[in-house]
């Protein structure tokens, strides 16, 4: 499916670019000036994920968060670092720390979703 550039996509990208945090659909919707439907935002975000422009984090609240991470562009995995959720200010951000692990014989790891929860630098 060929992609088209639309005001919605530009608005979403621009909000994510302006943020150094991962954002939920809800947070993105509130940050955008123009009115965009919830379903549309999800569709656009998921498309960005498919295209590798954005990565999705499932936080320990079970919700989806989306981020443009400048640091991890050149990495093999699109999203190979830890994420941090602050239990005070409820924000989620990418950490520089990469995830390292070893798995038992004959397990194959395709991707991962690793969140640390605690107090961020502004809240501790």
């Amino acid at each position: 499916m060929k992609r088209r550039s639309t005001p919605t996509k530009e608005a979403v990208i621009s909000v994510l670019n302006a943020s150094n945090k991962a954002m939920s659909q809800d947070a993105i919707e509130h940050k955008i000036e123009i009115e965009i439907d919830r379903a549309t935002i999800y569709r656009v975000l998921n498309q960005f994920c498919e295209d590798g422009i954005v990565h999705k984090i499932i936080a320990d609240d079970g919700k989806q968060y989306f981020a443009i991470c400048k640091k991890c562009d050149d990495q093999k995995l699109p999203d190979n670092h830890f994420h941090f959720r602050c239990s005070s200010c409820q924000t989620i951000e990418c950490l520089p720390a990469l995830v390292h692990f070893s798995v038992p014989e004959s397990y194959k790891v395709e991707r991962f979703n690793c969140i640390l929860i605690g107090k961020c630098k502004d809240c501790s």
Copy 2:
């Protein structure tokens, strides 16, 4: 609140003990012989989590999974290891590998939720 022992609690514990995997409320309900309400199972599971008998994992599908992990009884954190979700058989299990990380200055980590996704030993 003092705890009482009930058939529901015994059934849930017994199912989790018999499993070497983490289980969702739904999976637990289907495995139990007697009929138990969804809300009750959640309440019992969350109580077990509070009491440190069971630990809860939020998988990358956003759903809650519960496990009794024999390995991590004596650890400082109740749940300080990686979890693995098999993208073929959809099971989630505790891995022996502990989570190691470093965070930037002045971040305080309280707990974490780390999942690796891929093919388990039976499916690879």
